[in-house]
Assembly symmetry: C2
Homo-oligomer: 145 residues x 2
DNA sequence: GTTCAATTCATGCAATTGCATGTAATTAGA
DNA sequence: TCTAATTACATGCAATTGCATGAATTGAAC
């Protein structure tokens, strides 16, 4: 028989939702205003850009981005359609495939980061000093661990 | 010319997203397993249940829940269809309407809370003591303020 | 008291998501 | 090694969301 959550725990959860919704909304707004693709696109491009050979298996992208398999499949369709990634056959495993970032994809990632970075600073950095941000990150880390 | 965000700030933002996604996913999963409606339904029912006369204007619900107007309009359609709320004309303002919670709506809210509370405790409370939860809530509060 | 802007809510349509399922290939087990 | 379970990815379909816009009031300026 599990206990009910304390008032403090409940409030933390409520605020986690609120904060995320508000900040994400503001950041997505800034991205759109800057002519950038949505964050979900950026997340995939970033993972690809910093991978060893600029390529990853969909199943690897899934794990880091937390996008559901069926959503990722179609997200990759869109990225491919825009020429930001290409799909290539996977030698090791014929079930799988490589998702390769293109030059255009790298350029988009880099350009988006400029806008994204400013937005993060504006909506998070200006409201928390580094020490507080560190504490926040540590506490949030305990939730995912 | 705005600065770039610090490493600490960026990490806090990344973890805010991750933590929220993971915890929300886990909680929604538990709600579904318990035969409860999704959180968006619960949020509306809760606001109605604790309002003065068990009724609110859609525009008021919008402000507290952060649901977009066009989404709320259709969310209310679904709640109404399930008999959890009813719509009534608004005397003061002929443009508006009252959204009134029904008995079934109150019962659903109460039943959902039992499952929801356990899920919050499991996915948040068991990972943070009250002091940490308080700190977390305070830090998150700075982001929305 | 007219007129024009702002507010409240609804809705058509396209895009995205969730769910269930399908296909193909790999791995594990008897 | 043959079979069954698992893994990787795609897709049809229904539900939800985002966006643009519409319709009806209300409020404000003059």
């Amino acid at each position: 028989m599990s206990r009910n959550p304390s008032e403090a725990v409940t409030r933390a959860w409520i605020r986690l939702n609120r904060a995320r919704d508000r900040v994400l909304g503001a950041i997505e707004h800034d991205l759109k205003a800057g002519g950038c693709p949505p964050l979900a696109w950026y997340d995939v491009l970033l993972e690809l850009a910093r991978s060893a050979d600029g390529r990853l298996r969909p199943v690897e992208i899934e794990k880091v981005t937390l996008v559901a398999q069926y959503n990722l499949s179609r997200l990759l369709d869109r990225l491919e359609k825009e020429g930001l990634v290409a799909r290539a056959p996977c030698e090791d495993d014929a079930r799988g495939q490589w998702v390769v970032i293109t030059e255009k994809g790298r350029a988009t990632q880099a350009r988006t980061w400029k806008v994204y970075a400013k937005a993060i600073q504006k909506h998070v950095g200006e409201k928390l000093d580094d020490k507080s941000a560190g504490t926040l990150a540590e506490l949030l880390g305990r939730l995912t661990g």
